[in-house]
């Protein structure tokens, strides 16, 4: 197990390298550069050239990349063209909030999906099942920005239960302030989790080892906990892991609506302004997050399902 983890960690490096190279090239392929975004209609060729020189944008791309990688090895990720400050503290200060929001949203989504999926699977084919599935589909079709505004309107403005913006301080404060945002994102993801979980619960319910366990006389709750739930967790983790991109996309929208100064809102605004250094670092950090989630899920696979021997698996 330890060797497996070690191997995966080493593989992290080429992946991050690949992501950073692709991002570096990609943003420079997009029409318009930071000078254009900054100057707007005032972009005379002289002014544009001056800004290019100031930030090294007039150099050939390979040379720019060398400077960038050189900086990275010295833990210097560049200067923000717009804020004229070092990029690392600017970006990293936004990460904790986004992580907290992601975790909270995932918890919300599971808290909604697991009980409902269990209910639907156990009462399969009945009215309850269809009702839950209809609600899930409806929830899936509601755009998250609409849902967010609706929740603010209903629970923050008309009835003042939750705050409508800001991130709060302290553990309790943070949980309180992030409840509406996490609920919005969680409701967006829960339907997908629910469908997959329900489907795999149904399969497991009909599996042989379940009927065997029942026939042998094990109590229902033991059967459910030890066999059914355990074997369904994996598809759940898969779907959560697989949809991490969608979860991140939803969190970005949620950060915008609730005015949360997280990594997502920084990435979106820096794309519009073409602030290359911020885009590069923020993308890298999101990539790191996704990879870490993948690794975590794979490790959990190995822990939960002993049939999958990680040692044998080619990593």
């Amino acid at each position: 197990m330890a060797r497996y983890i070690g191997r995966r960690l080493i593989q992290l490096i080429p992946i991050l390298f690949g992501v950073s190279l692709i991002t570096f090239l990609l943003v420079r392929l997009i029409p318009g550069d930071p000078a254009i975004s900054m100057l707007g209609s005032r972009a005379t060729p002289d002014l544009v050239a001056r800004i290019h020189r100031q930030f090294g944008l007039n150099l050939p791309i390979w040379e720019q990349y060398l400077h960038y990688m050189n900086g990275v090895f010295h833990a210097n990720f560049g200067i923000s063209i717009f804020y004229e400050q070092a990029v690392w503290p600017l970006v990293v200060s936004r990460v904790p909030l986004t992580l907290e929001l992601l975790a909270y949203s995932a918890v919300m989504a599971l808290a909604i999906a697991i009980p409902l999926a269990s209910l639907a699977a156990v009462r399969r084919g009945g009215v309850v099942d269809h009702g839950i599935r209809l609600s899930a589909t409806t929830a899936l079709g509601i755009p998250s920005f609409w849902l967010g505004i609706l929740l603010i309107l209903l629970l923050g403005v008309r009835v003042r239960i939750f705050p409508v913006a800001g991130e709060g301080s302290g553990v309790i404060g943070r949980i309180y302030y992030l409840t509406l945002p996490a609920l919005t994102a969680g409701l967006a993801i829960a339907p997908i989790l629910l469908r997959t979980l329900r489907s795999s619960l149904i399969e497991v319910l009909r599996a042989e080892y379940v009927s065997t366990a029942r026939a042998v006389g094990l109590p229902r709750r033991t059967v459910f906990r030890s066999y059914i739930l355990r074997n369904s967790i994996m598809p759940c983790l898969t779907v959560l892991n697989v949809n991490i991109g969608w979860l991140i996309g939803t969190v970005i929208v949620v950060e915008d609506i609730f005015a949360l100064p997280g990594l997502g809102s920084l990435l979106v605004s820096s794309i519009s302004t073409r602030d290359y250094s911020i885009i590069q670092l923020a993308t890298l950090l999101f990539a790191l997050l996704v990879i870490a989630t993948n690794l975590g899920t794979d490790i959990l696979y190995g822990v939960i399902d002993p049939r999958i021997s990680l040692a044998r698996r080619p990593a």
């Binding site: 997009i30 004229e84 605004s269």
Partner: protein, 527 residues
Amino acid sequence: MIQSQHSRCRRAPVILASLFVVVAMVLAACSSSGSPSTSSAPAAGTPVHGGTLVFARHADIFTFDPYNTQDDESIFTEMQIYDRLVALSPDGKSVVPELATSWSAAPNGLTADFHLRPGVKFSDGTPLTVSDVVFSLTRAINQQGSWGFLFSPVKRVVALNSSTVQFQMSTAFAPLLAALATFAASIYSESNFKKWGSKEGNHPLGTGPFALQSWAPGTSVVLVRNKYYWQPGKPYLNKVEFTNVSNDNSRVLQLESGTADIIDNTAPNQIAQVKARGDQTESVLGSAVGWVTLNEHIPPLNQANVRLALAYALDRATIAKTVYFGLAEPALSVIPNGTFYYNPNTDPITFNMAKAKALLAKSTVPHGFTLNVMIASGDTASLDQTEIWAADLAKIGIKLNVTSLEQTTAQQRYNTAQYTAWVSEWTNDTPDPDEMMGVGLVYLPQDALHTYFNDPQIAALVTQARQELNTTQRAALYTQIQTLYNTQDPYIYTVDIPRLYASAPTVHGFMPNSQGDYELQNVWIGG
């Protein structure tokens, strides 16, 4: 008519038509002649000292250094921290003293002297000296900076004595006063600037009504009252907190929930609802006008008749009513209606389908053609405006192909002249018409803002007006320019576009000027 927060209406949205009437009546009752701003605020009572104002804005700031500033939010924040030699008058038509109490120009117009107000202090208590003024303005006029063009004929700024500065110019330069009222000519502390080196953009020290307390990038900027401020009794507020709320709907909801006291960039369709709930709105016209910029290198846009036909087929009144909910006004000149020497009586282009048809008939494409129009995605107003225009153009055989591109991508295409028609707007940085005309109606240095418009007569008049110090004669020149413009029309002007703010009923004295400066030194929070 004081309304408390708790008694605000929470009815579901009312029928829009009746609200139009209410809005129109309120606007008519509150607007004073000559003032480009209208507000539904009640008449001010006695100012109350103290309190924190929370102002939610749609974007973050980037810097406090005027030399590098490009975005509106940084500009308006700087105008609260720094003062300038002169300021825009309340009616928006001229300039009044601020850090300079009087000024005079030499008869040949090549030098101008400004006398400084005595006893002014920076927010840390140190006195303002003439060398701070010289230092700040020397930076401002630097042609390497993006705002140097506002001061192009100015060669040097020198101190004549401890209370007088002199501008030395290569030619007479009438726009100087207006330029000195802009944020680009902000006065800041020389020693403070030199102390901070490369970080100077984050550590401002000025003489304005507020000083910087803290800035958390992405979240908020907190300003604190400048107790050494030279205007007695002001500012009333203790603190101002600018927060960063990019989502339009969230900003309005923050106002409704009381989280924010003032919000900017309110969507026109939400103004009626804001008012219905008992909040106030401030609609500021004067510095922005909508344009459709035409690339004359692409036929048939090289023919004035075609451009004019397109312009006469634009139903400005319907656009002002439908797209801007009555808050915009049909444009009557290529410059915004708050610009100095603006003249609405130069036979402006109006909505006239018969004339459009007749003009098109005189061109090489009498039966119409296909026009490619570029708009920035996410800009619903431009899109709706273009749809209305397309419906009318179809009647004379002109078909519009609309391409919606991301903002910076579209900007890049425009800057490299890879566009045919570009729906955008012009916002004055200074209220002097020379800014727009200097880049827009003169061929060099930017190909007349990438239109390739080249009319030597108009260009000569623009240069002449720049050097004309007599205001009456200058007015006559600009009238002549605007009249000639309406026969050529390189930029189809559409409507004058308002800046829309909304504020809580407890906010008093909030009246941004026509350039968008908040002037928060006049604001107080009361019952």
